[in-house]
Symmetry: C2
Subunit: 212 residues, 2 copies
DNA sequence: TGACACATACCAACTGTATGGTATGTATTC
DNA sequence: GAATACATACCATACAGTTGGTATGTGTCA
């Protein structure tokens, strides 16, 4: 297969194809078990191309985390959970959305940066930090709606929007771990039901005025 | 260093030392990045000893998960959170205990089988299943107290003890992922505060009759 | 407009080493 | 003396990374 040119970039650049391959293969096998040859084969490029674009396998890991951050940011920005006018409804819609997209194979819905961080946190601080930026950057997008809902509902209890946003991520990430350990995606969905119930409790949503 | 004999087993058997090394190194570097030589060096044995006790690295992974299950079972059985007569107090004491033991280095308090399952779920089903047995075996030990508390408090809401026990594990595992990604153990503790609050809500614990 | 200089994007073949695993020998225990 | 529990030396392969190249685009200046 010829490489793409300005005139025929149909396959996307080699760099992008390598990052997509990393996203898919690392989610399946983990970072350490994913070889450079694996990635080159999947992306249909040679090792020369790999090391042209990435100084090392480590550097690819960082780039893959940043690629993940960029693509998921776009994905979540375009998602419909932002539609409700009521901020609490948006928060609950976020949880419902996270539950709804848990479908298909484990490697298709689990989180690249959660998986990588878990594995390389001590060995590759650069990758770990890139994963951290992706995760905590995402939690920050939830924080606004949570804080708005807090004020909207006059909640003054001793928890912060920041902390609840992080907890939401923890429940999602933990659900993925259990889903993998039990080889059953339903285990990830189940925890989101508990999270939904917790958030309703936090905002004193009664059965009567049930929302979302 | 001489190997231990029946007369001088001071270091424990080579097999046990290898399993302890696996517990420590895999939690730090992950399973794939942990080499057989790493383990032999840490356990101060040769490769011959390794492959005498384990048919393959894969088999060691399974044995390490089982070793983890056995040792943590003993550890939690001996823990003081079982003392309260009130079953709900025992549940909340469990959560408090899980929070209290989050201290020191990440690799010292994070979960071997959660880490391994996350990494090898697709590549090594035997290891994944051993990890699953460890995790879900542990959740089962909580289930009894949760169910007793449910009946004790006359809770009839539509959640099960089994499901809440699993959710508790998900929160713990997710907290570990965030703690690693943010390189800060406090992130794991934080989610346990939310879990504590959720359980109190579920059991309608009011501020006045505050327990645990 | 064309020619030159240079940069970018890739490829094929190779290298040194690390890795999981094996074959064989030996000390200890029962 | 037989099984167990190791140790030593070794092997084939897989691995990350390198080398030296080619094809294509791009800026520049006459």
């Amino acid at each position: 297969m010829s490489r793409p040119t300005k005139q025929s970039p149909e396959r996307g650049s080699a760099r992008t194809r390598l990052l997509e391959a990393a996203r898919d293969i690392v989610r399946t096998k983990g970072f350490a078990a994913t070889t450079v040859d694996d990635l080159c084969r999947a992306a249909d490029v040679t090792k020369g191309a790999f090391f042209h674009h990435f100084a090392s396998k480590d550097a690819l890991g960082v780039a893959a985390a940043e690629f993940w951050a960029a693509t998921t940011t776009g994905f979540f920005e375009a998602a419909p959970y932002h539609d409700p006018a009521d901020p609490l409804e948006r928060v609950l819609a976020y949880v419902a959305f996270r539950k709804a997209i848990i479908m298909g194979e484990l490697a298709e819905f689990t989180c690249l940066v959660g998986t990588m961080a878990q594995e390389v946190y001590a060995s590759f601080p650069d990758i770990r930090d890139a994963c951290g930026r992706s995760i905590f950057g995402h939690t920050a997008t939830l924080e606004g709606d949570i804080e708005a809902a807090r004020q909207d509902r006059g909640i003054t209890d001793d928890w912060t929007a920041e902390s609840l946003a992080r907890h939401t991520q923890a429940v999602i990430q933990g659900g993925f771990v259990l889903a993998k350990a039990g080889n059953d995606p339903e285990l990830a969905r189940e925890s989101l039901d508990h999270l939904n119930r917790y958030i309703r409790y936090l905002f004193h949503v009664t059965e009567e005025e049930d929302i979302a």
